[in-house]
Subunit: 194 residues, 2 copies
Amino acid sequence: MKNYTKRQKEIILAAIDLIAKNGIQELTIKKLSQKIGVVESALYRHFPKKQDILLGILAVFRENKEAILQAVQAESDVPLEQLRALFIKRFKYFSEHPAVASVIFAEDLFRNDSRLSQMVYEIMKTNQAAIIHLVENGQKRDDIRKDLPATQIAFILASALRLIVTQWRLAEYRFDLNEEGKKIWETLERMVKN
Amino acid sequence: MKNYTKRQKEIILAAIDLIAKNGIQELTIKKLSQKIGVVESALYRHFPKKQDILLGILAVFRENKEAILQAVQAESDVPLEQLRALFIKRFKYFSEHPAVASVIFAEDLFRNDSRLSQMVYEIMKTNQAAIIHLVENGQKRDDIRKDLPATQIAFILASALRLIVTQWRLAEYRFDLNEEGKKIWETLERMVKN
DNA sequence: ATATTGTGAGCGAACATTCACACACATATA
DNA sequence: TATATGTGTGTGAATGTTCGCTCACAATAT
C-alpha cells in the first residue's frame, strides 16, 4: 500500500465496498466514480485500467495477511497458541471489515484475468505455507499429533476458516463470526492436539 | 431434470461448460447460442430469461447431490463408510465432470439474484443436514468420537471437501482429485474416529 | 395444418475507455 | 515580484462494443 497514493487507496477501499454489496458485477467505473464523488473519467487519472484497481484490492489482502502473521508470531512462541491467535485475529478483522471478507475468498472474481488469478494463487500459497510451518513447529514440540501430515492438518484448518467466513457472508453477517469461529477453532484444536 | 426438455438440458449443460471455462461472465446468450449451434434468439424458445438457465444449472446440482446421497445409503449402513463413500463418489463425479465442479462451489455466481441465491442456500443446507445426520449415526454407534459436536464435525468434513475441489479447479485440474481427495478423507477419518 | 423451433434484424441500456479542455497550485525563470 | 511553465485532478461529451431481449417471419416436424 506504500506504492499507492491517498486517492488511490480511497478508490480501492470504495471498490471493495461495492463488490461486497453484490459481487464483482457491482463494480463498474460509473458506480465507483459516483461513490467517490467524481466523474467517470476522473478515475483514469489514478488508474490506467479497471484491472489495476482489482490488483490494488489484492494488494490490500496480501498486506493484511502478512500483518496478521507477524503479529501472531510476536505475540507468542507456542505454535498452537499462534495458530489460535491467527484464527481469532482473522475473524476479528473480517468482523470489522465485512467487505473485505466478502471478496477475499471469492477467487472466482479474478478468474478471467491471468495477472489477477496468478496473484490470488500466490497469496493463497504463501498463506498456506505459513500455516504448515506453524503446524510443523507444533509437531516438533509434541503439541500437535504427529500421525497426521502437517500439510493435511494445515489444509483442514484453512478450509474450515474459509468456509465459516463464506457462510457468514452468505448468511448476510447474521451470526457472530467471532463466536462461531472460536467454536470451530476449539473443535479443530481438540482434533489435532496431542 | 424431469421438468426439462431434451433441448433445455442440452442448453443447461452447455451453459455449465461455458461458466467452467472462465467464470460467469463467459455465459452470454451469444456464446451459449453459438455453442449450441443456433442463433441467439432461438434460446428464448426454450428459456424465457437468462436467469432461468441459471436456475436449471442449480437443478442439476441438487439432483446430483441427492443421487449421490441415496447411492451412498444404499451401499452400506455403517455411517463412517457412508461418509467415506460420499467423499469418494463426489470426487469421482467431479473428476468426470470438471465443469460442474467449477461451478458448484462458486456461490458468488448467483449472488445478485434473490431467487438464485435462495436456491443455493437451500441446497447447501440440505446437504449439510444430511452429513450431520450421518455423523450423528456414527456417534451413536461409537464409531465417531462423541466429545465433538456432530454439527462441527460435519462442518469440517464439508469444508475440506470443498476446498480441495476449489484448489483443484484453481490449479486447472493438474492434480488427481480422486487421489488427493482420498488422502484428505483418510486424515479426516483419523481425526474423528473413535 | 398446427405446433415447435429457428432466423435475422434491431432495440435500448450498460459497459470501459479516450479525448479536448479547464482550473488550482507549485515550481522555475525573468 | 511578476510571469511562465509544469503537474495533478477534474469535467463532459463521445466512441465502439457487448449485453439481454423482442419481434415479424420462415422452416421443420408431427
